[in-house]
């Protein structure tokens, strides 16, 4: 995973709530067996509409998505995160994310930032009025900065440390091999097994 310290880019204001993962990446894209090549599937249904915000020329190359509440609800598909990243997004801002989506995004280095809806509203107004406005997401300072806007955000220290250092979860867990083996030795005999190992 790539480390994330701070990122500055233009934004895409997405004035929709409850953007579920079926909208982010429709099911037929899930047949791919790789982690890349999902960019054309991102918001596929909405992109057929020429007035959809992602289709506007001034939004090309934008890297920060500012979305409505309950972003990423629904299916656990990590493809939603890959699609956002493949398209070029580095950070998503919303007042509330679905849990699984948020976990998936942080594991892949896509920073999901929770801000008060009032700040999201301000970011929408700013970036709708001025599509060239830069938005900075600074993970070291835990701050989102834009013209006239400075907002602190929370992220638990452990997740932040892993993102800042680009650390891979599996290697970290495997450092606790002794604990895992000890736990396994104490598991009751009645626990189910799929095969006799």
């Amino acid at each position: 995973m790539e480390a994330f310290t701070a990122h500055t880019g233009r934004a895409v204001p997405l004035r929709r709530s409850n953007v579920d993962t079926d909208q982010i990446i429709p099911a037929h894209w899930l047949k791919k067996v790789t982690r890349d090549g999902f960019e054309d599937g991102l918001f596929e249904a909405w992109r057929k509409d020429s007035s959809f915000v992602l289709n506007q020329p001034e939004r090309q190359g934008a890297t920060v998505l500012v979305a409505g509440p309950d972003f990423g609800t629904g299916s656990s598909r990590e493809h939603a995160v890959w699609a956002l990243q493949n398209y070029g997004f580095k950070a998503v801002i919303s007042s509330r994310f679905a849990d699984i989506f948020r976990g998936n995004s942080l594991k892949n280095g896509l920073l999901t930032v929770v801000l008060d809806q009032k700040v999201v509203d301000a970011l929408w107004e700013l970036t709708e009025a001025d599509p060239t406005a830069d938005v900075t997401v600074d993970l070291e300072k835990r701050q989102v900065l834009a013209e006239g806007i400075t907002a602190d955000f929370d992220l638990d220290e452990n997740a932040r440390w892993r993102l800042l250092n680009g650390l891979d979860d599996i290697s970290l867990t495997l450092q606790n091999e002794a604990d895992i083996t000890a736990y396994e030795a104490s598991r009751p005999a009645f626990k189910p097994r799929t095969i006799q190992a």
Binding site: S17, S75, E78, R96, I100, L174, K191, P192, I195, A197
Partner: protein
Amino acid sequence: MGRTLAEKVWDDHVVRRAEGEPDLLYIDLHLLHEVTSPQAFDGLRQNARQVRRLDLTIATEDHNTPTIDIDKPIADPVSRAQLETLRKNCADFGVRLHPLGDVEQGVVHVVGPQLGLTQPGTTVVCGDSHTSTHGAFGALAFGIGTSQVEHVLATQTLPLARPKTMAITVEGELPDSVTAKDLILAIIARIGTGGGQGYILEYRGSAIEKLSMEARMTICNMSIEAGARAGMIAPDQTTFDYLRGRDHAPEGEDWDAAVAYWKTLRTDDDAVFDAEVFIDATELAPFVTWGTNPGQGAPLSSSVPDPASYEDASERHAAEKALEYMGLSAGQPLRDIKVDTVFVGSCTNGRIEDLRSAAAILDGRKVADGVRMLVVPGSVRVALQAVEEGLNKVFTEAGAEWRHAGCSMCLGMNPDQLAPGERSASTSNRNFEGRQGKGGRTHLVSPQVAAATAVLGHLASPADLSEAPATVGV
């Protein structure tokens, strides 16, 4: 202070706890299917890792599998490639797999419980959000992403922050025509699609205790639609009776030891939940969705709401968008909504009791002209049982299509899809835009409402079939 059911199961699985870090949780059962696993197996290969516990891992094929002509090669080359990838991965790594054509094949959340692998007090994960289904057994069960699938394959653990707990207490007797599906749709409408976010829900109270295991699974299945991490129901005699004698249920002394442990899995009287919701079961009625998320629902006897009636601007906007997509207008009685398609199936309502209750309504009746009805059992075992009981005949004589087991029209990954603009009454769990096929419009309903709707051609409950020759309701 006492602990809640969720806290007990959580604590029993902590491998390592350290200040400032998420708990490292042991996973008892890992279920795999073809959609969310290919990139995880790839990750293992790239890092020269093995599957740590093959004996706690099992795979089935469900999302991409066709429900007709299953003996022929799968027509869609991309679906075929994904199934072949799963087969190769399972063969390479030694994972037990139930492929299309196998007697244990089916939707992953139907297969786990019916094999007796889903047990009280276990941790169950799967790269699928409806893993919450397994919580009906008092298991802590939740959906994970592909990176976590790889993590569990490699380590049999997951680093996780403990969610908060919410009690959803349902007291009183459910009225005759009201099913578990109506109850969960009403709960989601009440707390919202984000209402459970950050919580493990525990469904409790006299109405829940009376439910069968299958009804409990329907409820826990849809916990994720309220945004919850998981949903749980304390195990009791109903749970033990369901499990006893199943393939992977403990036997002999192990059974006794297991039951003794399972009986401890109840929320202590002095435990405190972080949030509580109370529902009066006696006030509930058949419930359907009108919008494009599972929280946009209302009693069948009511009308499409007016977006202007929402105080919250984003809810109002969401309702406007939903009505536009659904082709509905405010004030339209829900009963007047005509459908083209009725789907009975999925991990929410594709089990034997669901098929029985739909068949009881269709018996001696006909599916309305111009309506296509698909009945898709959740697993091959469910299908075999239905055939043994003659339910498939009831469906086909009524004019419905009896299909092979799989996810089918629950989501548009296999050939069973809605055409743009088509409208369905569906026993599945998601009415998102395009979920059942591009441009398709979905109304979530119970199996009983689905069957009555098929007969009348518009959203209806069994009570609307007054000229009934057959016995109505279950």
